[in-house]
Subunit: 196 residues, 2 copies
């Protein structure tokens, strides 16, 4: 859908307030209220942007899963996928993982978000026993790990991870987190993963 593509570009360029129906419509060359024939309202267009990105992230995790390798290394790579997405597209990250209106819409996006979480939980499960503590339920551990990474990305995306001496990049934070949670992985190589 060209409308979704246009909304995504506007979001990247100017943040949520730049995604007006008028601007989206103008970008694809239709009248300012033509989008209402394809979407219920402004939020539905943004939800479509979020759903598309969510599916892409899921595909990225699948790729990492298929590539194989040490579990803890795969986890580190998976978390860096989120970090790269948040660094390259801060506004889209905050739409997908932080917008309250979009989250409570249910529908397609909720299904896509659940699928994404499931992939991450699978990777976490693989790590339990080979680095991560095994005496804890996988969903709990997966939620905690993702929350930590989300916190890092969100604080940076909102401009709160600057000088406050200490961690400056999300990647440093992820490496530190994995090191602290899995003491056996103290010499894990630092992975860089391209954006999805």
């Amino acid at each position: 859908m060209r409308l979704v593509e246009a909304a995504s570009s506007l979001l990247d360029a100017g943040g949520p307030s730049a995604v007006t129906l008028r601007a989206v419509a103008q970008a694809v060359g239709v009248s300012h209220n033509a989008p209402y024939k394809h979407f219920d309202d402004r939020g539905a267009i943004l939800a479509a942007v979020a759903t598309r990105d969510c599916d892409r992230l899921t595909a990225s995790l699948d790729k990492i899963q298929r590539a194989g390798g040490a579990p803890l290394r795969k986890l580190n790579q998976a978390l860096k996928v989120f970090a790269a997405y948040g660094a390259q597209f801060p506004a889209r990250y905050r739409l997908l993982f932080g917008d309250p209106d979009i989250a409570t819409r249910g529908g397609e996006l909720e299904v896509a978000a659940m699928a994404l979480f499931k992939r991450l939980a699978l990777i976490v499960e693989e790590c339990q026993g080979t680095g991560l503590p095994a005496g804890i339920a996988t969903p709990e551990l997966a939620v905690l790990i993702y929350s930590s990474v989300h916190g890092l990305i969100d604080l940076r995306a909102s401009g709160r991870l600057r000088k406050e001496k200490g961690i400056v990049t999300v990647e440093e934070g992820i490496d530190l987190l994995v090191r602290l949670l899995a003491p056996s992985a103290r010499s894990l190589p630092h992975d860089r993963v391209p954006a999805s």
Copy 2:
């Protein structure tokens, strides 16, 4: 300032979009553009709300610090202060710790935020060696811990910490986090702290 109080109430009741200059002005009984005589723009009013809350959180941490007790217990209590604030006033939490425009304004709020982080870092420092790993710089560890807690609070405040089996409340997440980072604290009592 009555304008700040009114803006805070409107934010709690209806989220950021409910904080219009017209509604704020009407709540204190002045014309819709009278606030411009006291604040540069709409963002300045919101920044004042955030600064006020930030100072209150700092006072809460000071109180915990003065009360004394086991370092790890103080840390747990301090983190629960953030959780309680986020649970009781989700919109204000997201304004203070998540709004990009407010964060980049600098000024008073930046000073207040720095002071708040400093208190938390002090408590973390006390824990290093008596539970938390000592072989790591305090600011790094403090940022990571706070990021994790922020991630939990933010995911809940935006409606993303629901059924996804596993952690449902932020408090559970904090207990789990402290337990994982400080293995010696496996039997730490669960603290409940009232909102600031």
